[in-house]
């Protein structure tokens, strides 16, 4: 039998069960579509995050300063080696708005590079500038949870202890943690206790392990005179630093991809059960109703395998129709609202079409049943 004739016969049969066929196509379409769009969105987000990371250099390496005698200023030399270096002093404290609302936040005193290193997106206003640092301006950038917690916005003032700080920017940030960013140069005036946390974060495009080694070597050389406070654990040699490769962002991306994959796996299973079951049911029905017909086809020279492939093709056709429909709907969605990343869409659609293989396998059972029908069925009629 020619391929075109397989198609011709299979289509003829499917149109005979129009309603059922349409339902199965719809089911496959919904399954593929939801799987594709789910994968598409996480992939797109991940791609954007990764590309923004790559644009800036790649991996974050953080240096924790544990030695109380070492100041951040002692580490400023790192900037001449690494352009994207952020110096951060962080501290937990209560802040207030003028309406006396009080919330507990983490305050980070830092430099303008913080924005690039941590890829902070500014929703409104601006980030801390070099001018703010030099002029020791009492300004701050708050994130969304803080802004909504205090019911304030850009231009308003907040109170930290006795000091008043003007809000110059509103940053868009993930998560629930409340964060206020202030210029590094005013940290001594603002912070009350010295149980604070010193950290230097470097964004680097180099091999993170090699860069980490390099930093450790530099620190050792510089502070080699400060010896003798060896503690077990994370401390690197005898110096008061912990250098680590920050996994933050990449880890988040990986986690998101994992959850997305789990969801998609669930969608696949449900689709397979519904559509696969539907296809088995539909073709089974068609085989039962056509016992005689299949016998006649066999009597007229159809080979076993030709009957098998014919019925298998019916299942495959349904999945292909479902796939095409999902592709069309998905592509128009991506084009209109989804950011037009058609290559990613195509890739995820391809992944999702794995469902079709599963459904095709489901079609094997009734197809085998059909192929097993004896040609003498044609002559054994109920007369």
């Amino acid at each position: 039998m020619r391929l075109s004739d397989y198609l011709y016969l299979a289509k003829k049969d499917l149109t005979n069960y129009r309603l059922r066929s349409s339902l199965i196509i719809l089911c496959i379409c919904v399954g593929i579509l939801s799987s594709t769009l789910n994968l598409y969105h996480t992939s797109k987000r991940a791609e954007e995050l990764i590309s923004s990371l790559e644009n800036l250099g790649g991996q974050m390496i953080s240096i924790w300063v544990q030695d109380k005698e070492i100041q951040l200023e002692d580490l400023f030399f790192l900037s001449s080696y690494f352009p994207y270096t952020s110096y951060e002093v962080s501290y937990w404290q209560d802040i207030r708005s003028f309406r006396k609302t009080k919330i507990s936040v983490s305050i980070i005193a830092t430099v303008p590079e913080y924005q690039q290193v941590h890829s902070v997106k500014i929703k409104e206003g601006r980030f801390i500038s070099l001018g703010d640092i030099n002029q020791r301006r009492k300004v701050c950038v708050v994130n969304t949870p803080v802004a909504s917690g205090l019911k304030i916005g850009v231009g308003k003032k907040i109170r930290i202890g006795e000091d008043e700080l003007r809000v110059i920017g509103l940053s868009k940030e993930e998560g629930m943690s409340k964060r206020v960013i202030i210029p590094l140069s005013i940290s001594n005036e603002i912070f009350e206790s010295d149980s604070r946390n010193l950290e230097v974060v470097i964004l680097t495009s180099g091999n993170p392990k090699a860069v980490k080694k390099e930093i450790e070597r530099m620190l050792k050389k510089r502070f080699s005179d400060k010896k003798g406070r060896t503690r077990q654990g994370f401390l690197f040699e005898s110096e008061g630093f912990t250098v680590s490769i920050a996994e933050g962002l990449l880890e988040t991306i990986k986690n998101q991809r994992l959850t997305s994959k789990m969801i998609v796996l669930g969608i696949w299973v449900v689709t397979l059960i519904l559509a696969g079951g539907g296809i088995i049911n539909l073709i089974m029905l068609s085989v039962r109703q056509r016992y005689k017909e299949i016998g006649v086809m066999r009597a007229y020279g159809a080979k076993k395998e030709e009957i098998f492939y014919l019925f298998l093709l019916e299942g495959i056709l349904l999945s292909v129709y479902g796939l095409l429909l999902a592709g069309a709907i998905g592509a128009s969605y991506v084009g209109l609202f989804g950011g037009c990343k058609f290559l990613i869409f195509l890739r995820e659609l391809l992944w999702s079409s794995i469902i079709c293989i599963g459904i095709g396998i489901c079609g094997c059972f009734p197809a085998r049943l059909a192929a097993g029908i004896s040609p003498s069925e044609a002559i054994r009629d109920a007369n």
Binding site: S4, K292, E293, Y300, K303, K304, E305, I379, D381, N383
Partner: protein
């Protein structure tokens, strides 16, 4: 030429064995037209199924054009049926979703004949059975006699050596039955196709040269 020697067919029904045919021997010469008669359950359809290579006998020798049928694989049997045998059934067994023309084309599909040639040959066969003006009709739009003629056209389309008809007039009124028998006789005379017809109708049996009688799976006598 067809030669059957001591053909038996036993069906296993769970514990029970049904002997549908016992030691049947017969010969159909090229161009011969025979009839098979007998009461219901006597094994007529079984005999036709074995002749038509739809089933393999339990024992005995069956030579079709000097080839031993029981040595052929399932695919080879399909090919043999496709190229050399045409079937006509009591219940017509036309595919309901297909037009008359498409029904007649069916055997050619399995022979991988291209669409154009298929249509051409199917149309010619339909004209031969007097249905040249009905080619686009669905089976449900045709009378019983017309449907059976479409079935004959389908049996004819691959120029077979043998046409087997299992009670082809059983569902037809006498006029249509006459027409169908006329067409079969004509095919036998013009194209020298071997024809075997199972029938209950003695009038029809009278028209053929040789009548075999079956009873309880055995050939009783060879009349005429």
């Amino acid at each position: 030429m067809i030669e059957m020697t001591n053909i038996s067919k036993v069906y296993q029904m769970g514990e029970k064995k049904v002997e549908a045919l016992r030691e049947v021997s017969m010969k159909i010469e090229p161009g011969e037209f025979i009839a098979i008669m007998g009461p219901s359950g006597s094994g007529k359809s079984t005999l036709l199924a074995i002749m038509g290579c739809l089933e393999i006998p339990t024992s005995g020798r069956y030579l079709f054009d000097k080839k031993e049928v029981s040595n052929l694989t399932d695919d080879e049997l399909s090919l043999l049926r496709n190229e050399k045998i045409g079937f006509v059934f009591q219940a017509f067994h036309l595919l309901p979703r297909f037009s008359a023309l498409e029904n007649v084309e069916l055997p050619l599909i399995y022979k991988k004949v291209a669409k154009d040639e298929r249509e051409e040959r199917a149309r010619r066969c339909l004209e031969q059975v007097g249905l040249g003006d009905r080619i686009e009709h669905a089976p449900s739009e045709l009378s019983g006699g017309e449907q059976q003629r479409v079935a004959i056209a389908r049996a004819l389309v691959n120029s077979p050596r043998l046409i087997l008809a299992d009670e082809p007039t059983g569902n037809l009124d006498s006029t249509s039955a006459q027409e169908v028998m006329d067409i079969l006789s004509l095919l036998n005379q013009d194209k020298k196709i071997m024809i075997a017809v199972v029938t209950h109708n003695p009038l029809i049996a009278e028209r053929v040269k040789k009548v075999y009688h079956l009873k309880d799976g055995q050939l009783v006598n060879e009349a005429k």
